[in-house]
């Protein structure tokens, strides 16, 4: 049995249905653990006081905003190249979650910037490229919604998603390439993290919780999209009782 058999929406639908509660449950458990560590256990920062606790939602949201974009562009590309309906549906299902994560990264960033930098917003490279990411998500969703034929909409939106991928490394490396108010990466693969162990664990567990949440909600949305798009199919009619 090959995993590609699940490229059929009819087979993917029940599979995703079984996966959603697991990912949602993990998101809840990790979220409670992460909040406990982040809000109750982690020590006060000696420079930023308690304001730094915004990191426990800001960094996970910002990471997910980029990860989801790459996943969305990947599935859009698969849909474009192999003409698989399910891949395009996954891309479309990921877009709103990515847009929300981008919004949260910007919102929590503004609330963090005010007490630490003295401003809600600056037009520097990191913040501006993250705002462009939000516009790319909104553009992807609007373009898709504006074309009636779903497969044509998939292809047009996929091209937009792929062009926009260049923005992701720009966001990530913006703090290195340009002078910016935004601090550099607190965590990287090449050097020891520049934060206390409890803070680091709190942040990583919250990031994992955001991962699990994103997978759960995107899969749940994919299931709805499958039913919307395949509503002519006999199995969907039987499922919805509209046969």
């Amino acid at each position: 049995m090959s995993w590609t058999r699940f490229a059929a929406p009819q087979r993917f639908y029940p599979l995703a249905g079984r996966a959603v509660p697991w990912f949602a449950g993990l998101a809840l458990l990790l979220g409670v653990a992460g909040l406990y560590i982040g809000l109750l256990l982690a020590p006060t920062d000696h420079q930023q006081g308690e304001a730094y606790r915004i990191i426990f939602v800001h960094v996970p949201a910002a990471w997910m905003s980029m990860v989801i974009y790459v996943a969305m562009a990947f599935w859009a590309a698969v849909g474009l190249m192999f003409n698989t309906r399910l891949a395009s549906m996954l891309a479309v299902a990921l877009a709103p979650t990515g847009a929300w994560m981008t919004f949260l990264a910007l919102w929590t960033g503004a609330l963090w910037g005010k007490p630490t930098w003295g401003t809600w917003w600056v037009w520097d490279a990191r913040l501006t490229s993250e705002l462009i990411l939000l516009f790319l998500y909104i553009g992807f969703m609007s373009l898709h919604a504006s074309i009636d034929d779903e497969r044509r909409a998939d292809r047009a939106a996929a091209v937009l998603a792929l062009v926009g991928v260049v923005n992701v490394p720009i966001i990530y490396f913006s703090v290195k390439w340009w002078n910016t108010l935004h601090q550099g990466a607190s965590v990287s693969l090449t050097k020891a993290p520049s934060m206390a162990t409890t803070m680091l664990w709190g942040m990583l567990i919250m990031a994992l919780a955001f991962w699990m949440y994103s997978i759960a909600v995107a899969l749940a949305r994919t299931r709805v999209i499958i039913l919307e798009r395949e509503r002519g199919a006999r199995w969907v009619r039987q499922l919805l009782g509209t046969a």
């Binding site: 059929a8 809000l39 109750l40 929300w100 919102w107 749940a220 395949e230 199919a233 006999r234």
Partner: protein, 66 residues
């Protein structure tokens, strides 16, 4: 544990507005998004009924009936 009272916890060292504004917005967004997906699912039955299109139907018994 960093906090000696609930009031101190809520005040967040004077940064309460910023910290709770961040965590609160996250909670709100996640709730709105989940509600949106559930709402979209509920309104499936109101979609216009397409003609039967069974070109892609699989011959096997679907898993959701198993």
């Amino acid at each position: 544990m960093n906090w000696s009272s609930l009031g101190e916890f809520l005040a967040m060292g004077g940064y309460g507005l910023y910290v709770w504004g961040s965590f609160g917005m996250c909670a709100l967004v996640l709730a709105v998004e989940c509600w949106g997906v559930a709402q979209r699912r509920r309104s499936l039955r109101e979609l216009p009924l397409d003609d039967l299109d069974d070109r892609n139907d699989l011959k096997e018994r679907p898993l959701h009936e198993a």
